[in-house]
């Protein structure tokens, strides 16, 4: 196995391990479209990074957080439904990102790489960044597991019993923003939500408790990453889409299991 492929595999496994529990919350809290919206805003983050000359992962996380806060603020005004609001934010930020990027006459800007991932561009620093980022996501989710779950089951009850639900929600959004930033080179902006949603959905049918579902989702994600990378090499297909295709196939396969 050559060097960069091993690096890519390690980064992919780390991402899948973090996406397992995080994706379970995305599925339980019906945040799939929110994840998509964050991913769309990543392009705005990249243009921000070019402007300010900062690291793209940092800029994407900041853009995602800004979007999450804007969303919470707009939700409080309750002028339109949340899915409409997400549609507005997702496409406005994607479009604005494309417009701003077009001002740069820069060879660094490879749109296809951002949209669908570019494994070859993954360097050692990126791998370290992914490892550090996913480790902190896993640590935070484990630490906040009980309050996060209590809030997911019944937000008002959790608040009545003294849990800081607004802070918990922001923490969850921040973690999704971070994972989006870290996964961009791996699978690309347009496919990131798949890593969160599909393995969690695959795990559902095999799980009898929330914790089980989080762990099985991580396992399904790791399997998809491994199979996708392994297949993309001989087939000479792009790694990100191959990984997501594998995750989708695994989900279809899981449907064959008879319902309990």
């Amino acid at each position: 196995m050559n060097h960069w492929l091993l690096d890519a595999w390690i980064a992919g496994v780390a991402l899948a391990a973090a996406c397992g529990p995080l994706g379970a919350f995305v599925v339980w809290r019906r945040m799939a479209y929110f994840g998509d919206t964050l991913a769309h805003s990543a392009l705005l983050g990249i243009s921000l990074a070019l402007f300010l000359d900062i690291h793209p992962a940092l800029a994407i996380t900041i853009a995602g957080l800004a979007l999450a806060i804007a969303l919470v603020g707009l939700q409080h005004r309750q002028t339109v439904a949340t899915d409409t609001l997400l549609g507005i934010l997702a496409h406005t930020s994607l479009a604005a990102g494309l417009v701003i990027l077009s001002f740069f006459d820069n060879p660094r800007v490879d749109l296809m790489a951002y949209l669908f991932g570019d494994l070859l561009a993954l360097d050692r620093t990126d791998v370290m960044l992914v490892l550090a980022g996913t480790a902190s996501v896993i640590a935070i989710i484990s630490g906040l597991w009980r309050p996060l779950l209590a809030m997911t089951i019944h937000e008002e009850l959790a608040r009545a019993e003294g849990l800081p639900t607004t802070g918990l929600k922001l923490a969850l959004m921040a973690m999704i923003a971070l994972v989006v930033a870290l996964a961009m080179k791996m699978v690309g902006i347009l496919l990131i939500t798949a890593l969160l949603v599909i393995p969690a959905a695959t795990a559902r049918g095999f799980s009898r408790s929330p914790g089980q579902m989080a762990i099985l989702a991580a396992a399904a994600g790791i399997l998809s990453v491994s199979a996708g990378l392994a297949a993309s090499l001989p087939l000479d297909t792009p790694a990100g889409p191959t990984i997501v295709t594998m995750a989708g196939l695994l989900y279809l396969l899981s449907l064959a299991k008879p319902a309990q």
Binding site: V27, I153, L157, A160, S209, P210
Partner: protein, 254 residues
């Protein structure tokens, strides 16, 4: 034992210019079962949310006794079908003490449901599980919001009996919210009839003959009780505001 657990004074809550809670004062004592009844949209849930501290009142104040532990039982709630959650896990999120969990489930006759996923519970089962969950906090005040929703009459009667027993055992105060008064009344020490403001309050027998109550619930609600005293002193317009007719003395507007 009749120490005051909670005292609310002159609560006002507005939403987008509409007054949902209009100068409500009430107190809860230990060992007392208070039922709040009122039609849909009367502000019952808003009042509960104010008392629980989930909403901030625009005016008025709430005093809570030091060391007050509220066991809150929300209305039957929706659990996402994608969340695999057996009763045991719901309980473990509220307490790490397995013995306490077993005792609480036993007390509400829900121990057999220990491993059942929440999505598979019937209305009555869900209710008993939520009550057991509220008990885990060793509450001195139980707040139950529409606990009888989706439960048949026999189940409701049994549930209210259980509440009365728990009050006797724990000496806790119980605040009960319902839009259906018949079964609530038997176990209540005090009934508060709500429609934005407090229309009338008092002992169940007194309330059921109060004209304000009759006005709010109409004649059909009373057929089973065989009581009918037709003396309106006010009625409500579309906003729920009280419109006086003759004499205000029969109804306690606070």
């Amino acid at each position: 034992m009749s120490s005051s657990l909670l005292h609310a004074h002159g609560l006002v809550y507005r939403q987008q210019g509409r007054v949902l809670i209009d100068h409500i004062s009430l107190s809860m004592n230990a060992g007392e079962i208070v039922s709040i009844i009122g039609p849909n949209g009367a502000g019952k849930t808003t009042l509960v949310r104010l008392l629980l501290g989930l909403l901030k009142a625009d005016d008025g104040s709430i005093e809570r006794a030091p060391g007050l532990r509220i066991g809150y039982m929300p209305q039957r709630f929706h659990v996402d079908p994608n969340l695999p959650l057996p009763v045991s896990h719901l309980m473990r999120l509220a307490s790490r003490d397995q013995h306490a969990i077993t005792r609480a489930l036993q007390r509400t006759q829900a121990l057999a449901l220990h491993d059942t996923p929440l999505q598979k519970l019937s209305g009555g089962e869900f209710q008993r599980v939520l009550l057991a969950r509220a008990l885990l906090r060793q509450p001195n005040l139980l707040v139950l919001d529409e606990p009888a929703q989706g439960v048949d009459i026999k189940g409701q009667a049994a549930f209210y009996r259980l509440i009365a027993e728990l009050r006797d055992e724990l000496g806790c105060g119980v605040l009960l919210v319902s839009h259906d008064l018949h079964l609530v009344m038997a176990s209540s020490d005090r009934v508060i009839c709500l429609n934005q403001h407090i229309c009338c309050e008092g002992h169940p027998d007194a309330v059921s003959t109060n004209p304000a109550y009759l006005e709010l619930f109409g004649e059909p609600a009373l057929e089973g009780l065989g009581v009918y005293t037709h003396h309106h002193d006010h009625h409500h317009n579309l906003h729920g505001d009280a419109i006086p007719e003759h004499d205000h003395s029969r109804c306690s507007h606070s």
